[in-house]
């Protein structure tokens, strides 16, 4: 009996660690969608680039964890802005499908361009954290788990503060509410959109570094599956809604670790996509979303 409860708590810890990564990626998806209604397919790949930047910082420059995390976030933020300016800005007024196809193109470009640059081989992340384990009533916390959860919580707190209490955040909310009206009120929407991409990409990079630390290995295609899953998380919480992405990410992580814990780990991905389809069919606006009536 006791071991079952231990097992359950262990899976919850694992789920929260994994879920906090999904939540960080999902935040970027949700912010970009909220502001320009684009599913930024390349978001998972930005996470991958962030992971590589973190790897470069830790194993080549020998930086400790925090500076490496910052370095990766800055690199990814710049990349996010560049992608937005080159690929998405010309399509601001095109159909959403055209923008979606472009995003898929950018994603493929980063995956295989990355493969050409850093080669397809899997790289090992250097051990950034000590292998210390804490045992509370038989439930094992790894040092890495705690750092991951803390990092995610701090970053989400910072994001919440930025969006709710700063001038930039106010402008972001205004642009996401009504772009044209925001423009008329003197907000430079292009800068705000770039800023949104920068923040989202930085969060993705943080997720990438944490993922590298958590799973120890990185490769150029690592962004695809977590990217899609983070999208599922964003849809689950209600796309365009920031708290929704956090909750959706954590929930998805928990569900996945429960499915794995039940011994069906090969079906893990299928369950995530099944949730996606069910949410889309039953309540497309997500858990936190309001139903918007369509007008002709």
């Amino acid at each position: 009996m006791e071991s079952i409860i231990q097992q359950i708590f262990q899976q919850i810890i694992n789920g929260l660690s994994l879920g906090s990564i999904y939540a960080l990626i999902a935040l970027g998806y949700t912010m970009v969608y909220g502001i320009i209604k684009l599913i930024n397919f390349a978001h998972g790949e930005i996470m991958m680039v962030g992971a590589y930047a973190g790897w470069f910082a830790t194993s080549v420059l020998h930086l400790p964890f925090l500076p490496a995390l910052l370095f990766a976030m800055i690199v990814a933020a710049i990349l996010g802005v560049v992608i937005e300016r080159i690929a998405y800005k010309p399509l601001r007024n095109a159909t959403r499908i055209a923008a979606l196809i472009t995003a898929i193109g950018v994603s493929l470009f980063l995956q295989y361009g990355g493969m050409l640059v850093v080669s397809a081989q899997v790289r090992t992340y250097p051990p950034v954290f000590p292998e210390t384990m804490y045992s509370v009533y038989g439930v094992i916390f790894k040092y890495g788990d705690i750092v991951m959860l803390l990092t995610s919580i701090i970053l989400m707190g910072l994001l919440h503060f930025t969006v709710q209490y700063t001038k930039m955040g106010k402008a972001m909310r205004a642009v996401s509410f009504d772009k044209d009206a925001a423009l008329l009120m003197g907000i430079n929407t292009n800068n705000i959109i770039s800023f949104t991409f920068a923040i989202g990409s930085a969060l993705a990079a943080a997720a990438g570094v944490l993922m590298g630390v958590y799973f120890n290995t990185i490769d150029p295609l690592m962004g695809l599956v977590p990217g899609l899953k983070a999208f599922v998380a964003a849809v689950l919480g209600g796309i365009g809604i920031i708290p929704g992405a956090m909750v959706g990410g954590l929930m998805l992580g928990l569900i996945e670790s429960i499915v794995s814990g039940l011994g069906a780990s090969t079906w893990r991905d299928a369950v995530a996509f099944l949730i996606l389809i069910l949410v889309l069919i039953i309540k497309p606006s997500g858990l936190f979303g309001k139903n918007v009536r369509e007008k002709v």
């Binding site: 499908i97 470009f109 079906w267 069919i281």
Partner: protein
């Protein structure tokens, strides 16, 4: 009474027979290297795939990016029938196509209520689920794949391709096809003109799934081995690129896209990373500079041959 044997149709028929005969002759006399033959048969498969995706994405204007899922269903079902049950080839391909169409119907009914990018994501999710189901199926070898004899010849591939394209082309020209086009142009207007949009969307989706199943059946029975990885998200993107390149809504455009992309893939077979980078740049460039694709919604046709005399 329409005259079926007008000049246009005769030229078309002659062209088709000529292409078939030349290639068949080269294969029979062993002049054609095996790699060329592979490329030609792949071309037939991709033409079916791109035309069937065009039916959904181009003609009806619904955005699906899970086409590889239907291809996988067709491939695996036909493989089970031909290799495990030792059924005849045509039965296998037909059964694969019918099961794919049924799956298409099942998936299409609930998801086609969604619009635009939501539909895209739902179909993507579906494609991945199909792949994972086959990955976990012991009967068909799981991740390591399923081997079966190669029974598809050039004749099979070519005849099936011509038949599929002809059927889909005639569908587009029919009342139903026109209803589908009206949904693409303006769904609300179509609905107010009394068109049952859900019915036609599901019809186009099911038909697209059917022919994707046919293509999957040909693929499975030619390639010796099928693996779940073959039918990943990337395969769907491959097909999408062909349609987007040729022109969403143009059957001939989609065919041209399929031919060009198969050739590009064959030429860059030694450097797969470059192939994907080129595809990516093509996609982005097309969307920025010519979002309608090379052909737009125009069709290449031989109508100019029939101007005198008929009609």
């Amino acid at each position: 009474m329409r005259n079926w044997f007008n000049r246009k149709n005769l030229v078309m028929l002659l062209g088709i027979v000529l292409i078939y005969a030349v290639v068949q002759g080269l294969i029979m006399t062993d002049i054609m290297p095996p790699f060329y033959k592979l490329t030609l048969i792949l071309m037939c498969i991709y033409i079916i795939l791109s035309t069937s995706l065009n039916l959904i994405n181009g003609i009806t204007g619904q955005f699906s990016i899970g086409h590889a899922g239907f291809m996988a269903v067709g491939a695996y079902v036909s493989a089970i029938i031909t290799a495990i049950m030792h059924g005849p080839l045509i039965l296998g391909i037909l059964a694969g196509a019918i099961v794919a169409a049924l799956v298409g119907l099942l998936v299409g009914l609930p998801t086609l209520r969604l619009k635009g990018d939501y539909l895209a994501i739902a179909t993507l999710g579906f494609g991945e689920i199909v792949r994972i189901v086959f990955l976990n199926m012991e009967l068909v070898g799981g991740a390591s794949g399923f081997t079966l004899p190669s029974r598809i010849t050039w004749t099979w591939a070519f005849v099936l391709m011509v038949l599929s394209v002809l059927l889909m082309k005639n569908f587009v020209g029919s009342t139903h096809g026109r209803a589908c086009i009206s949904i693409r142009e303006n769904e609300i207007a179509a609905e107010s003109m009394g068109i049952n949009t859900t019915k036609y969307k599901v019809m186009a989706f099911t038909m697209g799934a059917f022919f994707a199943g046919v293509a999957g059946g040909i693929y499975a029975n030619y390639m010796y081995i099928i693996q779940p990885m073959t039918f990943s998200f990337l395969k769907s993107i491959d097909i999408l690129v062909m349609v987007v390149l040729g022109g969403l809504g143009s059957i001939t455009g989609g065919i041209a896209g399929a031919i060009v992309m198969t050739l590009v893939s064959a030429l860059l077979a030694g450097v797969p990373e470059w192939r994907m980078v080129i595809i990516a740049v093509l996609l982005i460039g097309m969307m920025i500079f010519r979002p309608t694709g090379l052909f737009g919604t125009k069709e290449f046709s031989l109508n100019f041959l029939g101007k005198k005399g008929d009609k």
